[in-house]
């Protein structure tokens, strides 16, 4: 027998109750496990229910008549060993220990004779959980044994060159869709005009870049084309300021051949190119 005395009630401050200030060196007598296999076995439990079920099964005990005293004692011994082996002991093991200790203490307490013993067997809930857990463990074992795709069977595939025969279909358009798209485009245009006043203040520098960019693709721009009436007065002012700024920085030239003829904007390079021809 180890020092883990099962008769010592530990239900008050449970986690502390297990730390006895001294390590448990003796293994419980009834373990019958080779020492080197012990760690492996302890690690293999998937949780406190698994451990509890193992303890019950090992002694060929019936879950329904769960002998709470010896099982609690053995459970505590295992938990102590897990601690000693510095296995990562989940808090869940301690929760179970607390539950076992609580059941044990309730069973030790004398019950008022009036109480219905069947209804209030303190073990009942644990027994139910053990039964349910045992069924699920059985289900898990079935899964392990059933043929698994990628382990036991594999999906069969054959080659084909049929992909080469896939035809490319072009999108279909209905006439009504086209008419709808047209009215949407127009509606969009109207919406834009409507919202012009709310447009953000346009920056002169940005407009300068845009005019220069325009002059990249067009040798000459009509002065009038630089102004976007849709931008409203503010936009026209910004464009005008941008042109003045560009002239000042000698990036563009404003040309008018005759009085009242169309005013054109060209970039400076263009003028030199023109003058050489």
């Amino acid at each position: 027998m180890s020092s883990a005395d099962a008769s010592t009630p530990q239900q008050q401050s449970l986690p502390l109750g297990f730390v006895r200030g001294e390590p448990v060196i003796d293994k419980p007598e009834d373990l019958y496990i080779p020492p080197d296999a012990l760690e492996l076995i302890l690690e293999s439990f998937s949780g406190p229910m698994d451990l509890l079920l193992y303890l019950i099964r090992r002694q060929k005990l019936d879950i329904v008549d769960l002998p709470i005293l010896p099982i609690t004692r053995q459970y505590m011994e295992y938990v102590e060993m897990m601690k000693d082996l510095k296995l990562e002991l989940a808090a869940d093991y301690l929760v179970m220990a607390a539950m076992l200790a609580e059941i044990k203490s309730r069973m030790l307490l004398p019950r008022p004779p009036a109480e219905d013993e069947e209804e209030h067997d303190p073990r009942a809930e644990l027994v139910r959980r053990l039964q349910e857990y045992e069924s699920i463990r059985q289900g898990a074992q079935h899964f392990d044994a059933m043929p698994q795709t990628g382990r036991d069977n594999f999906v069969a595939q054959a080659m084909t060159d049929a992909q080469e025969l896939i035809e490319q279909h072009l999108p279909e358009v209905a006439l009504a869709e086209l008419a709808l798209a047209f009215s949407q485009a127009l509606a969009h245009a109207k919406l834009q005009n409507h919202h012009q006043v709310q447009r953000e203040k346009l920056s002169t520098r940005e407009r300068m870049s845009r005019i220069l960019d325009l002059l990249q693709s067009n040798q000459r721009l009509r002065f009038a084309d630089i102004f976007e009436p849709s931008e409203g007065k503010a936009g026209v002012v910004v464009s005008f300021l941008a042109i003045l700024e560009l002239v000042k920085e000698a990036l563009i030239e404003v040309v008018q051949v005759d009085a009242f003829s169309e005013i054109h904007v060209t970039n400076r390079e263009q003028i030199y190119a023109d003058s050489t021809t």
């Binding site: 998937s46 869940d92 898990a140």
Partner: protein, 193 residues
């Protein structure tokens, strides 16, 4: 379309499709050839018996028909690849079993029965493999997610539906007053699907 030709075509289709094909998918595939459902069923059943004793078999799984290798050849075939197929931990299999046998189920239910907190890794692995999905919420405070298994789960185990799962004992009746409360709320689960 003549049956021998249809049989060849269905056989070829099942061997090149990336996914299992359902009877309906096959039926629609041959809409131009106007085949009958009866003809299709006959061809599928003929193919199944043709391949009965072969290295690959025509199997009906949850997502449809697919050709797959005989389970007993697993060892010889897996030599083709260096990597060993993954072995799933006891904890993962128990979690999967709970979801499969007791669905729809919340993470809290799983933790209660297994007596340990369910690691997020396990839930992530199960979801990444496409074996489980959230099918709704239980209408209790916190509205915990309800998990259920998917067709991919059934496909993985070559099953057509959940009724083909090996039987395990029914969940025992809850006894404690607290347990009774849980039972009640379980029945008010909402399904978002």
């Amino acid at each position: 379309m003549q049956t021998p030709q249809l049989k060849q075509a269905i056989e070829a289709l099942l061997f090149v499709a990336e996914q299992p094909l359902t009877e309906t998918q096959l039926f629609e595939h041959f809409s131009e050839e106007s085949i009958s459902r009866k003809q299709l069923k006959e061809v599928l059943s003929e193919l199944q018996s043709d391949y009965q004793e072969r290295g690959v078999q025509l199997t009906l799984v949850a997502s449809g028909y697919r050709f797959q290798t005989r389970a007993e050849l697993g060892g010889i075939i897996s030599r083709l690849w260096q990597e060993k197929p993954p072995r799933y931990s006891q904890a993962l299999l128990e979690t999967l079993a709970l979801i499969a046998y007791r669905q729809p189920i919340t993470r809290g239910d799983i933790e209660e029965i297994r007596g340990v907190s369910v690691s997020s890794n396990i839930m992530k692995t199960l979801q990444e493999r496409g074996w489980i999905k959230v099918v709704g919420h239980r209408e209790v405070p916190g509205r915990p997610q309800l998990y259920a298994t998917t067709n991919e789960f059934l496909d993985y185990f070559s099953l057509q539906d959940l009724s083909e799962l090996p039987a395990i004992p029914e969940a025992p009746e809850k006894v404690s007053p607290k347990g009774a409360a849980v039972q009640t709320t379980a029945e008010t689960a909402t399904n978002t699907e």
